[in-house]
Every structure is written in structure tokens, then in C-alpha cells.
């Protein structure tokens, strides 16, 4: 019997590019994507396989120092270091959206030094005006044409809609997965959930949907649920894309029941409208509904309304999942989150959720101090 559910997740999680390499051997093309703003729908519609580029928190930088400054986002440095070491050699191309200063820079450096067969940069406006939506739609059109040149044929409207449907299904399954964290104790641990999400980004969306369905079914029925911990927490932050930090928090006395992370709820808490113009629908969904501080959300009323508009969804998560506190895990040199976390912490504090800001260098090489700080915080809120 073929592996499924959490056992399969563990295998894909451990083997990182294993499935992608198998697919490549079968003639599929694998396209690496940074961040949350490159719609995988367009890649899937072309018959290609989107693969989310992540780093490896267990590795320190070995070669990237000769190419990238130490003052850069440590996730970008780490993932590029992996690429230099050949760990992304299975990619047939890569796509970089303009998320922030750091991601913009990685495009040139990767392209020049690793010379991938295909590369494309998608510009993403920082504002939400009508002009920004129109512009982003045009950029997605340019991306689609670029992918069409790669595959040597046009992507049909039907293929695009089918792909949106598949990815909407995936997003819905992810949301269903999070539902399993609402009971106390949760039916699935935060680190298990993180592994499921990572596995989902490393296989074609059809397989990811199947995988999630099997995980949800297994978790609903299993009896060995994660032990109840003294606290339930939400983890907020940027590209936290591996399980060890979540394991650390859970190991010192909390259930991580919800998050606001790039590999977490952030890219999955919306659907793309399936009727009408697919590019316009994707532009609207990705620009407006991915809650990242890199997008400036204009203030339409007073200060309180502005903060509610920007951070109210985090407070809603906290209420809905009945958390005791928030851990704001910020990466060094991530300007957007460094600015924003000050406001997020204050806002959530006022909403009744105490917060702890921790800045890390992405890797978990020096984990003890982190454990001490988290432990002290959990004791305070438990």
C-alpha cells in the first residue's frame, strides 16, 4: 500500500526535492518560486510544476558570503547558499516576485551566477490603488507570455481556470487543516502542520490536494493527538519555513495553533475568483489578500480604523483559535517586519494578547537563548 497522510508528508519533508527530481526524470519541468506573490496558477496551467524555494535552517552559510552581504535578509542568503551548493539543481527555472528589497536583489545574483535555463521577475506594486491592480494584471500577463514562450504554446483560458480551481481547492484544504487546531488540545501539532504545508509546496498541486485530504482524514481519526500544553500561541513573522522553531515552542510548553507566516496561513486565506478574467482575479487576490507588510494599505479613516484594517485579522485569528499570546519571530535585516512588528505587538497587546518579539538570523544554530526567552514568555502567559 502506498504511503499517505502524515507518513508521506514526513517523507516529502525530509527528501525536499525528491519528488521534483522524480517528476523531472519523467520529463516535467520544475519552476522554483520565491515568496507569496508569484501565482503558481500560471505555472500549473502551463503543465509545469511550481516549487517553493525555501532555506535550510539547519545549515549556516558556506558559500554565499562571496556573493551576498551579511546585512541582507538571512533567508535569502540561506536559500541562495543552498542553490550554490547544488541543492536546487533540479529547477528548470525560477520566478522572483518583487516583494521587498532583498528579494529583488536575489533575482540578479541568482540569474548571473547560476544561469538557470529560465528566469522571470514579476513586479508587484506596493500600493493597492486601481492603477496598481491594473498594473499587476499587466505584469501577470507578461509573466504568462514568458511562460508560454518557455513551453512553446499558449495557455488556454480553460487551462488557467482549471488551474485556479485546483489551487483554490488546495487553499480550502489548508484552511480545513487549520480547523483541526481549534480544539484544545489541537488534533494536529504546529510542527506537523508546518511539514504538511512545506510538503504541499514541493509536489504538483493535484498531489498536494490528495496529500492534504489524506492528512485531514488521518488526523481526524487518530487517537494520539498532541498533548495539551499550558499555552496556545500564534506565531507571526516573515519567511519562517521550517519546523524546528515551531517544535521548539511546542517543546517548551505551548501548542502553536495558528500563525501568520509566509509558509502558513498567509498565502492560503483567500480564493481566486474563478469566473471572469483570470489575470484580473489573480492580480486582485494576490495583491489585496496576501497580508504582508510589504504592501501599503492606505488609511481611510482614523488611526484606530487603520490599525484594525492592517492587523485586525491577526487579532481575529487569536480570538478564533483562543490563543494566550503571540510570538513575533522576526528575521534580522527584514526591514518591513522590523518596522511593522512594533505596531503589531502594541496592537495585539491592546486587544488582550501579550506578545514577544524575537529577532533571529534564520538558522537555529544557537537555539538555547531562544528557548530561554520563549520559555520565560510562555510561563508569563500560561
Amino acid at each position: 500500500m502506498a504511503e499517505e497522510g502524515l507518513a508521506k508528508v514526513e517523507k516529502i519533508y525530509q527528501d525536499r526535492g525528491g519528488r521534483a527530481k522524480e517528476l523531472r526524470a519523467q520529463g516535467k519541468k520544475i519552476i522554483g518560486c520565491y515568496c507569496c506573490y508569484a501565482p503558481p496558477e500560471i505555472i500549473t496551467a502551463a503543465g509545469l510544476v511550481p516549487y517553493r524555494i525555501t532555506g535550510d535552517v539547519k545549515e549556516t552559510i558556506r558559500e554565499a558570503d562571496s556573493y551576498l552581504e551579511a546585512i541582507m535578509c538571512p533567508f535569502c542568503r540561506n536559500s541562495f547558499d543552498m542553490a550554490l551548493r547544488g541543492e536546487y539543481d533540479f529547477l528548470d527555472g525560477f520566478v522572483v516576485p518583487h516583494t521587498c528589497d532583498n528579494i529583488v536583489k536575489i533575482y540578479d545574483v541568482w540569474k548571473y551566477n547560476l544561469k538557470p535555463p529560465y528566469s522571470h521577475f514579476i513586479n508587484v506594486p506596493h500600493t493597492l490603488s486601481a492603477a496598481s491592480l491594473e498594473f499587476f494584471k499587466a505584469e501577470l500577463g507578461t509573466f504568462q507570455r514568458s511562460i508560454e514562450r518557455l513551453i512553446g504554446r499558449e495557455i488556454s483560458l480553460q487551462q488557467l481556470k482549471e488551474s485556479i480551481k485546483l489551487h483554490n481547492e488546495y487553499r480550502a484544504l489548508v484552511r480545513e487543516l487549520y480547523e483541526l487546531s481549534k480544539p484544545d488540545p489541537p488534533l494536529i501539532s504546529g510542527s506537523e502542520r508546518m511539514k504538511v504545508l512545506l510538503a504541499g509546496t514541493r509536489v504538483p498541486v493535484e498531489e498536494a490536494n490528495e496529500l492534504l485530504r489524506s492528512v485531514i482524514s488521518e488526523v481526524k481519526e487518530r487517537r494520539d493527538v498532541p498533548p495539551k500544553k499550558p499555552a496556545r500561541v500564534l506565531v507571526y513573522g516573515p519567511e519562517i519555513d521550517d519546523a524546528p522553531f515551531i517544535e521548539l515552542v511546542e517543546g517548551v510548553g505551548a501548542n502553536v495553533v495558528i500563525d501568520d507566516l509566509c509558509v502558513g496561513t498567509r498565502p492560503y486565506w483567500f480564493d481566486v475568483e474563478i469566473n471572469g478574467d483570470p489575470l484580473g482575479a489573480m492580480a486582485q487576490a494576490y495583491l489585496e489578500k496576501v497580508n504582508c507588510p510589504r504592501t501599503y494599505r492606505p488609511r481611510t479613516a482614523g488611526r484606530k480604523e487603520d490599525l484594525d484594517n492592517r492587523f485586525g485579522y491577526i487579532a481575529n485569528f487569536a480570538k478564533e483559535y483562543k490563543v494566550n499570546g503571540i510570538i513575533l519571530l522576526i528575521l534580522n535585516y527584514c526591514d518591513n517586519y522590523e518596522f511593522e512588528s512594533v505596531e503589531v505587538k502594541d496592537y495585539l497587546q491592546q486587544a488582550g494578547f501579550p506578545g514577544l518579539i524575537i529577532e533571529v538570523d534564520y538558522t537555529l544554530m544557537s537555539i538555547d537563548w531562544l528557548k530561554t526567552r520563549v520559555q520565560a514568555f510562555l510561563e508569563m502567559i500560561s
Partner: protein, 443 residues
Amino acid sequence: MEEKKGGLLAGIYSRTIKTTDAAKKVRPLTKKISQQAHEAAAEGKPIAYCFIMSLHDEIIRAMDITPIWTENYAAITAVKRQGERFISSAQGEGFPRNLCTYCTIQEGFDVMRHQLGMMPPDAPDGGMERPTMMLGTGMMICDPRYKSYQTAQRYNDVPVHVHGLLWPAADANLAEVQDYYVKYIVEELRDLVDFLEKQTGRKMDWDRLNEIIDLANKTYQVWYDAYQLRKAIPAPMPTEDAMSTMVPGYFWMGTQEAFDFYQDLYNEVKYRVDNRIGVIPDEKYRILWAAGLPPWFALAILNYFESLGAVFPIEITYHPPPPVEIPSHAKHPLERLAWRFFKQWTQRNEEAQRRSGDPMVEWMLEMIEDYKIDGVLAHRATTCRTIHVGQIHQLNVLRDYVDLPMLILESDICDVSAFDEAGTKDRIDTFVETLEVYKKRKQ
């Protein structure tokens, strides 16, 4: 060794020695920025916090809005060694020290002014007035431009406007994308004008804006022409002067004062070229200041280079944009601004696609040839990712095309504590020795 340039760097507190009279006349212009803001505040007129290079210049001049260039003010506090108290103030609010110190100084200043209910005591130039609005931008570079003012609403509860200004990646097909890029910039500028009209209760005078753009374009041209004269040997004007002469171009653009300043600068540099008056009497090495913001509190390091016979005849940082051709169909002032912006930012993309892949490297290659450069120096400001992430890559690529010594010095724009004086001097000494080795080898 000439007395003027000969003294070793007497600590980072030493005053930078400027060469041109024009550079020596800049300080009153920076004082005047604050002075005008004080007057505007007293009269209840609109005041805007602004970032440079955001296409605000002509628009706010046309609408009689008084700008406070917060980056400029931060640099002034750094030069006056007063930045630390504002950085600490921001740090006390939770803003990490590794954030852009232009912004942490602004945030820290805002915090103090807010908490004290008055201007922080002894603030340089009388301090920054509380703005009536804050104008950010969402660009390809510099995330703090849209985050910093948004966060500053904690201390200045005034309206913020952010407009988008994007340009395509170096490998983009310009013919495929330029129309929708320009259209986007036009519409975002129109949105900015709508916002300003609402805030000020004034209507934009489009004819006046067109006139101001005409004046700005003339100013860019004479500024650019003056810098072209710097190709001469010996170098007539050094980079430390350019760090001052950028002030009218970045903070007074669209005014007669800025035009007159660059006309005078042109005349002065031309006189020096015609009479072979160099920055230093015995110019041995010519170094390009690559992309990188300077340590404003320690510009005297450039004088230290000069004491070793090395001069910086030109720099990427704050270099005026070259004149670009605007399509004849672009008549509306916002279209003219948008096309100028787009063309300026993409002017080397096609060359880059043919050769290095990097427009900045292409620009450096041009300068290395035109200004007879012997070596390249970049300064890394540790709190700014905008320009300083990518320097290693640019120099790596540059090495594929030229065989020159290259050095990256590291400190910060405004954080004095990031500066290692002894280590910096050591690296400069070694670099200058390397320049000599290369020179001999080429001979």
C-alpha cells in the same frame, strides 16, 4: 605634501575639506530647508515629510507645499554628531538598530517631539517641524520609503500618501512593458496630486507645473554638463564636494536657486579645467566611488585618500541623471514626469542585456573608461539594504570586464558607532598600495 589636503585624518571629528567654492556654499541651502519649514509652521502652511528621488519635487513646488527631506535632516544630525540620541530614542520604541538610520533618526526625532510636546532641545537647524502630511513611495528599492512614515503615524497622526513608482527588471523587454509602466506612474502621480489637492484645498496649476518641469529639466542638464567636465585630468572636483553639490539637485529641484547653483558650479569647474587646477597637486590615482551612500559624519576619509595621492574624480552616488528624450506625444506634465522617470531608470537596460546583465555595472564601465579610473571603491552602509545589498555582486560582475583593484569599506550613513577609524585607515593604506602595484604592472 600640501597643507590643505595633506593632514592625516585627525579623527572622525575632523571637518571635510572641500575643493570648490560651490560646495562651500551648500550649507546655507540645507539650513534654509529647515528655516522655510519653521516659517511655514508659524504661518500654518502645509508641510510634507518627503523622501528624495520620488518625483515629489516639481509637484510640491507647484503646489507651494514646504518639504522636509527627512533623509537630509538625518544626515545633518549625523554630521553634527547628534544622530545617536535620536537613534536611541527609536530603539527605545522597539525599532532595531539595524534599520535604516535615516529612518530611525526621523522616528526617534518624532518620538521625542511627540513625547516632549516641543522640539527636542538643541536640535540642529531648529529641528524638524511636525508635518501636516507625509509622502512616501513604493519603489523598486527602499522599503523604508513606505514603511517609515506609516509607522511614524504613531507620533504624527497626520495623513500619509504612498504612490507607486516602478521600473522593470534589467532583462525585461522594454517594448513589451513600457506603455503600462508609464501609464501606471502617470496614474499614481495623478492620485498623488488628488491627495495634495484634498490636503491643501488648492487646485494644481498644470501650466505652472509644466514651467517648473521645464526649469528642472534645464537644471538637470547644466548639472549633468558640469559633471561631464570632471573627466578632465587633473580632477577639478572631487566626490566629497559632490556629496554637498547634490543638495540643490535633490532638495531644491524645480527652483531658480537650484538652476543658478549648477550654472555657477559649471562655470567654476570649467575654469578649473581650463586652467588645469586639480583637487590635489600631484594626482597619482583616480578612484571611482561606486554605488553606496557615504558615512556623512566621516566624509573626511576622502581627504585621507587625497593625502595619499588618490582622488575621486566621479561617483555613481548622487550623480545627476543624464538627459533623456521624452516622446513628443507626452504633453501633460505628469506624462512628462513619468516618461523622464522611466527612461532614466531604464536607459542602460539594453546595454546590460547585450553584455553584463546589470545596468549599474554598465554605468560603472562607462565611467571607468571616461574618467580614466584606476580603482573602484564602494562604501557599505550597514543599515541600508536598498543600495548596499548587491555591491558584492556588482563588483564581482565588474571584475569580469575590468582588471582594477576594488575595495568595500563598511560603516553607516548616520550611525557613528559603526565606524572603525583605525581599521578604515588600514584598509585605505593597503588599497592605495594595491593601486600602485596595478599601475606599475600596467606600465
